[in-house]
């Protein structure tokens, strides 16, 4: 008797191996994926039901006949079909297997075995519904298979006649049938689990690539916005030399500078840094620059310009966006500069006469931070050879591979040492030093630099337009 049990078990496991190969192939088909995605169509449902119906019929046969009945894995087809495809698929596959059993294989267990197969599909379908269409998981499927086969045996004992024969058959087959169906369910469930994981990974990968593409476009857009709001030509100012550059970081930081022609002989000069990165920063930069321009052209006091610009910008700044900004009005003829520093890195001025540096600070706060402000305004006198270097924190906060900051000290030294050069040369020198300093590391923030120099020799720069 034990030998029959083992023989039957081995036979059923062989059968299962074949079934699983077929099942594996089914799981790679498109219709199966559509069923998993719950995109049910008539076509994929018919293919799905026929495939698993075939598996159920195929699973009806084993080489071992016990008192006229055969140990089998017929219930596996409807169980899996129901767990994956829902009650309709489960019951339909159950009917295929069950009716086949009823009409084509005889014996005293015909009725209970046929019913068991139909119930297997129905119960699996109910589990599918209870689990809201989600696959029940590996252990859920195994426990279900064990319970289902136990139920199958109980049906045989209740219905088959005579009872003694039913009992004899049941005793013979229950262990191999429970084990083999459970094994089949286990392996099939592993297939489905792996398939689901694989699909999840593929979906995440696709989403990730979509996200990357979107991000890339976003960066390009931010660049374009920023670039379109920066001056592309330097103004030619009689008696002065001015030059500026902006090197945007990959993720642009919303730095900007601007030259605003005012009344005759006066020009507004600004450098600014917007909080945040990418498109939000670029848009906020565009707004700030436009607001400043509008206010600057209608007012000749930097403090008033900043006060009014702040009110407009604050009312637009919902998510704590702010802009640090230095604004100055340069009087070309009188060689004076009135300025307001609204929370920006203080520009550094090389005073030729003293051979020393001075930082252009005023008491101020970034625009967008508070509703009303009374910015402090200062005036300086410019003399021949004086140099003012305006910059954003991308310069002083450039980092090297030892995580050191470029810092003000290095910048100040460069300003002092290079003060004899032209504005463009000074800008280039500082830029080269900063880039060299953070060599090999990606640029974290926009680098913006502007140099204004009062001509110290009688140059003939009459080939350009003048303000």
């Amino acid at each position: 008797m034990v030998s029959i049990t083992i023989e039957l078990l081995m036979d059923l496991l062989e059968k299962i191996s074949v079934i699983l190969v077929i099942a594996y192939l089914i799981t790679r088909t498109r219709f199966f994926h559509e069923i998993l995605d719950k995109k049910f169509t008539r076509k994929n449902m018919i293919l799905f039901i026929l495939s698993f119906g075939f598996i159920s019929i195929f699973g009806s046969y084993s080489g071992i006949v016990v008192d006229g009945a055969m140990g089998n894995v017929r219930d596996l087809g409807p169980m899996i079909a129901g767990l994956v495809g829902g009650p309709i698929a489960g019951v339909a596959v159950g009917l295929i297997g069950g009716l086949y059993r009823y009409f084509f294989i005889g014996g005293i267990t015909t009725l209970p075995c046929s019913l068991a197969t139909i119930f297997a599909g129905l119960f699996a379908g109910i589990i599918y519904l209870l689990n809201r269409g989600k696959f029940i998981g590996i252990w859920g499927a195994v426990i279900f298979a064990v319970a289902m086969e136990a139920f199958h045996m109980i049906l045989v004992l209740l219905i088959a006649q005579p009872y003694s024969a039913a009992l004899a058959i049941t005793q013979e087959v229950y262990i191999p049938m429970i084990i083999s169906n459970a094994m089949g369910a286990l392996i099939f469930a592993i297939f489905i689990n792996n398939l689901n994981k694989e699909r999840e990974t593929a979906r995440e990968r696709d989403e990730y690539f979509d996200e990357l593409t979107r991000k890339k476009y976003e960066l390009e857009i931010a660049h374009e916005i920023q670039d379109s709001f920066l001056p592309h030509e330097m103004p030619h100012l009689k008696g002065y030399d001015i030059y500026a550059i902006n090197i945007p970081a990959k993720e642009v930081g919303g730095d900007f500078y601007d030259f605003i022609p005012l009344s005759e002989g006066k020009i507004g000069i600004t450098i600014a840094d917007v909080s945040g990165k990418s498109v939000p920063a670029a848009l906020f930069m565009a707004v700030s620059r436009t607001v400043l321009r509008a206010k600057a052209t209608s007012n000749c006091h930097p403090s008033q310009v900043i006060k009014e610009a702040n009110e407009l910008i604050t009312s637009d700044s919902k998510k704590g966006m702010f802009v640090t900004l230095f604004y100055a009005i340069l009087d070309l003829k009188n060689k004076t500069m009135n300025y307001v520093n609204a929370g920006h890195n203080p520009p550094v001025m090389f005073i030729r006469k003293m051979g020393d540096l001075e930082c252009l600070k005023t008491k101020g706060i970034a625009l967008g931070a508070i509703d009303t402000m009374e910015p402090e305004e200062k005036e300086i006198k410019l003399e021949k050879g004086d140099v003012i270097v305006f910059y954003t924190d991308g310069v002083t906060e450039a980092i090297n591979d030892k995580e050191e900051l470029f810092g003000e000290k290095r910048l100040y030294k460069l300003v002092k040492v290079n003060s004899d050069l032209s504005a463009k040369e000074i800008v280039d020198r500082i830029k080269d030093e900063v880039i060299d300093f953070s060599k090999g590391l990606s640029q974290f923030d926009d680098i913006t630099l502007m140099v204004l120099k009062v001509d110290d020799q009688k140059k003939n720069k009459m080939n350009s337009f003048e303000i």
Binding site: D273, S275, K277, K319, G320, N345, I365, A366, F444
Partner: protein, 110 residues
């Protein structure tokens, strides 16, 4: 960037550790917003472990103070390292926030 939040009586305290750059600022923004959504009115941010703060970091803190002051709440800052203090100072934000040398003083100031 590590961030940890705790309660000191009615006051929510966020302790920060690491670099407060564009990336970690978004995390801090989410954290602050969820605290505010859960009814937090009084907040202390402890900068003990922060060596670097970018403008994105300032933006998040400014956004927090704007939201909280609308409802008579506030954000107070504690334990700013010299470099972070300098960033607050340059931007003028030292005029906007109450800044305390220790977390305890900041909590007790409410």
């Amino acid at each position: 960037m590590d961030m940890e939040d705790k309660k000191a009586g009615k006051v929510c305290v966020i302790v920060l550790n690491g670099r407060l750059d564009a990336y970690s600022s978004n995390k801090l923004d989410d954290k602050i917003n969820s605290l505010i959504d859960n009814g937090c009115q009084e907040m202390v941010i402890n900068f003990e472990g922060v060596d670097y703060i970018s403008s994105s970091g300032l933006r998040v803190i400014l956004s927090a103070v704007k939201q909280l002051r609308k409802n008579q709440g506030d954000v107070k800052l504690a334990c700013l390292k010299p470099y972070v203090m300098e960033v607050f100072d340059i931007s003028g934000f030292t005029q906007l926030f109450e800044i305390y040398p220790t977390e305890e003083e900041a909590v007790n100031s409410f």
